[in-house]
């Protein structure tokens, strides 16, 4: 499923941006494809980092870094591009979407030890609950195994972010523990739930490669009892 290709005619982009500036497509799924970040994406990033809902649900260090450390500087693009400890890919939906629907990344990549952390951010509320985040997480997990040689991927989720927890479970992640009151949303402390998946489990998911419909009922009910 993981493939590397230049954007083709079946990767519609409604903009008139030249192909070279649209980034390279790294992986294609049935609903979304993942492409490399481009300088033009900074405009989207600028809007996303100011969205309080995204900040509360994800608390992304990536977004915080762009906003606070880099002060939304264009130099952030180059810094991301040359950062060998993370892979940042933009999520594009196939039809009817004029803008990217989010970002997915592997970060704190430890190539020798074979593990990394996953963060999937669906930024457009209309794109939520459509399976886009699930598929984006799946595609980048395959990429992590196939291209980066990862054998384990980890994710942290705020205890109130049931949507993300269910997305991870749908991709075969298992709840591995809870970091008690490790997250702060500006008002109070929340538990962080740790999820993990091993290479064999990713391969097992790949064999199934079941396409989840948006209308599928959510799995589980948020955090499992510890």
């Amino acid at each position: 499923m993981t493939s590397v290709a230049q954007p083709g005619p079946d990767a519609p982009s409604p903009s008139s941006t030249p192909p070279g500036e649209r980034g390279s497509i790294i992986s294609r799924g049935t609903r979304v494809y993942l492409r490399t970040l481009t300088p033009a994406d900074l405009e989207h990033l600028s809007a996303w980092v100011d969205d309080p809902f995204i900040e509360r649900m994800v608390g992304s260090e990536f977004f915080q870094s762009y906003k606070h450390v880099w002060d939304k500087s264009p130099a952030f693009f180059e810094a991301v591009l040359t950062d060998p400890t993370q892979v940042v890919l933009v999520i594009e939906a196939y039809r009817g979407w004029t803008k990217p629907v989010g970002v997915v990344r592997l970060f704190n990549i430890h190539l020798l030890e074979g593990y990394a952390f996953l963060e999937t951010i669906i930024t457009d509320p209309r794109a939520m609950k459509r399976g886009f985040g699930v598929e984006a997480g799946k595609l980048i997990s395959y990429y992590g195994v196939d291209v980066l040689g990862l054998r384990r991927i980890e994710a942290k989720v705020y205890e109130y972010n049931t949507l993300s927890m269910n997305s991870l479970r749908r991709n075969g992640f298992r709840q591995e523990g809870v970091l008690r009151q490790a997250g702060f949303d500006g008002r109070r402390y929340w538990d962080l739930v740790i999820f993990g998946i091993l290479k064999e489990e990713i391969e097992s998911q790949r064999k199934k490669d079941k396409v989840y419909l948006p209308l599928d009922p959510p799995e589980g009910n948020g955090r499992e009892p510890s």
């Binding site: 490399t36 040359t82 400890t85 592997l106 430890h110 190539l111 040689g149």
Partner: protein, 118 residues
């Protein structure tokens, strides 16, 4: 009192190391070595190994960017080559490459050669 002899070599005479490097198959890579271009490096290494070339020097002097996918490709090259009898991999790296290897803790995983004789 001992005498310290300093061997002054003719610049035209290649060093032992440089002579040893002569026996390696050379693969030169220029531009960004990233998720977009790393598959090409993987393919070239695999082709070379299939052709029986298992002692390789990958010249990265002209590489302008190196990301996780690029480093993963280099690690795979090392694994593939070192799995062969007498297989070896030497990298010729520039500052960009060295920094990326250092940032990812993979610096010590590679044999590096930055001297003359190339």
């Amino acid at each position: 009192m001992g005498v310290v002899e300093i061997e002054v070599r003719d610049q035209e005479t290649p060093s032992d190391a440089a002579q040893a490097l002569e026996s390696l198959t050379r693969l030169r890579f220029a531009g960004p070595l990233t998720s977009v271009t790393a598959p090409s490096l993987r393919a070239q290494v695999r082709t070379a190994v299939r052709d029986g070339q298992t002692r390789m020097l990958i010249d990265l002097q002209a590489v302008t960017a190196l990301d996780a996918a690029g480093i993963a490709a280099l690690l795979e090259a090392r694994r593939v080559l070192e799995a062969q009898p007498s297989g070896t991999l030497v990298l010729r790296a520039n500052g960009v490459v060295c920094r990326a290897l250092k940032d990812t803790g993979t610096f010590a995983a590679f044999a590096l050669w930055n001297g003359p004789g190339m």
